[in-house]
Symmetry: none
Subunit: 246 residues, 2 copies
C-alpha cells in the first residue's frame, strides 16, 4: 500500500466533549485513517486516564490535541467550518451525506483548512455553534436510532474521507480561495454594525436577521477580494450614516 | 424518510471479546445502522454494566445477543462466514475492502444468512477461526497504525453495508428555493443603483465590480426571503443617500 497523494488538511473539533474516553476513541479513529489535527473546545475533563486508555496506540494524537475555551479560537484559521449532525435541523444549512461530502473536501473546493465539528454527547451542536458553520454532514443511519457514539461518528467520517480521497491529478485548479473564519466573522460584525446604524435590525429579534444573512454569505464562501469589496461597501454606507439627518 | 427495502440478513459475531464496553459499543454501532443479530463467542465477561453503558439506546440488541461457547454454534446456520482483519494474512483467503464487499453481500450472492466475524481486541482472529471463513474483509487505514477499536470496526462495516444497500434515502424537503433569474437581475440592478449613489463603483471600470458581486451572489443562490432582506437593506441605504451632505 502506498501513501495517498497530498490531501487537504482536516481538523477534527470536539465541542464540549463530556466523556474523556470518547476523546481518546476519537484520537484513535483519526490516527487509523491518517489524521492527526485534534482540537477540543472546553472539554469537561481533559487530560484524563480514560482518554489515554481509549486512544491506545494514538497517544501521540491525543498528546498533541489543542484545548481551546471557545469555538472561535478552534476554527479561526479555517476556510470551511462543517457541522456533523445525526438529524435534520430547522436551520437550513446544506446537508451532505459523508459519501457526497468527502469528494467536496478532497477536491480542495472547501479551501486548504477544513474543520469538522462534533457536538457533545448529550446535546450535540447548539444553534449558536451551527451559526458558525457553513454546511452540515449527516451520517445516514436507521431513523429509529441513528445516535452514533462520538468516537464512532469520528471513525465513520475519517474512514469515508480516507477511502474517498481523490487523486491529486483529478483536482480542479482552485480559482477561489475562501477566507478564514476569523475574517468572515469580522465581516459579519461590520455588517451588523451597519445594519444597526441603518436601524434595519428588528429590535425584537436582532439575531434572526443576522442568522439569515450569515447563512446566505456562508453559502457564497467569499474570498479575500470579495470580502474587501463587501467591507468597502459597508464603509461607504457608514459614511452616509454618520451624516446628520436632513 | 422511508425505510430501505428488505436486505440480506447479517449476523455480527464477536469472537472472544475481552472488554464488555466493546460489546456494548458494537451493539450500538449495529443498531444505528439497522442491524440487530449479535452473537458472542466465549466472551471474557458478559453480561456486564460496561456493556450496557456503552450500548446506550441499543440495550435491546445487547439483551437479545446470543452467547455461544464455540464458533461452530455461532455460524452453523450461515451461508457465508466472513472474517474481518486489519492486515493481510498469510492465509490466502480472498480479501475485499468494505466498499467492494458490501455490494457482494447486498446482492444476495453470499446467500441468505451471512456472518461477519470480528476477532478479540488482543489477537484478532486466530488461524483456527480463519479456517472456518470463506473470505475476508479488510478495512483500509493508515498503514502506520491501522488498528481500529473493535466497536469502531463494527461501526465502519455496518455503516458501509447500510450506505451501500440503501437506496438514496429521502432527503428532507429543501426549504431553500433559489429565486428565478429575473428576480436576481432586479436585485443586481438595485444594487448597482445604490453603489452608484454611494460613488462606490470605479468610474474607469464600473462593470468589473458588478461582475465580481454577481459571481459572489450567484454562488449563494439567494431565495425569495433572502432577496427581500437584501433589497430591504438597499432601500434603507438609499434613504441615507438621498439626504444632503452635512
Amino acid at each position: 500500500m502506498t501513501e495517498p497523494p497530498e490531501i487537504p488538511k482536516l481538523r477534527i473539533v470536539l465541542v464540549h466533549p463530556q466523556h474523556p474516553g470518547n476523546i481518546g476513541a476519537a484520537a484513535r479513529a483519526m490516527k487509523t485513517m491518517g489524521f492527526s489535527d485534534l482540537v477540543l473546545v472546553a472539554p469537561r475533563e481533559f487530560p484524563h486516564p480514560n482518554a489515554e486508555a481509549m486512544a491506545a496506540g494514538a497517544g501521540d494524537v491525543l498528546a498533541a490535541a489543542r484545548v481551546c475555551s471557545t469555538l472561535a479560537q478552534a476554527v479561526g484559521d479555517c476556510t470551511r467550518v462543517v457541522a456533523t449532525t445525526s438529524r435534520a435541523r430547522s436551520l437550513s444549512l446544506p446537508v451532505f451525506e459523508p459519501r457526497e461530502w468527502a469528494p467536496r473536501w478532497a477536491s480542495g473546493a472547501l479551501g486548504r483548512q477544513v474543520a469538522l465539528l462534533f457536538g457533545s454527547e448529550r446535546v450535540g451542536l447548539t444553534n449558536e455553534v451551527l451559526d458558525s458553520c457553513q454546511e452540515t454532514v449527516s451520517i445516514p443511519g436507521d431513523p429509529r436510532y441513528a445516535v452514533l457514539n462520538l468516537g464512532q461518528a469520528v471513525q465513520v467520517l475519517c474512514y469515508e474521507l480516507r477511502v474517498t480521497q481523490a487523486p491529486a491529478l483529478a483536482r480542479p485548479a482552485p480559482d477561489h480561495e475562501p477566507v478564514e473564519q476569523a475574517e468572515l466573522e469580522r465581516f459579519f460584525a461590520h455588517l451588523e454594525d451597519v445594519l444597526i446604524g441603518l436601524a434595519f435590525l428588528d429590535p425584537d429579534n436582532p439575531r434572526l436577521l443576522m442568522r439569515r444573512l450569515r447563512r446566505l454569505f456562508a453559502r457564497a464562501a467569499p474570498d479575500f477580494n470579495e470580502i474587501n469589496i463587501l467591507r468597502g461597501i459597508l464603509t461607504a454606507v457608514e459614511d452616509r450614516i454618520d451624516r446628520p439627518p436632513a
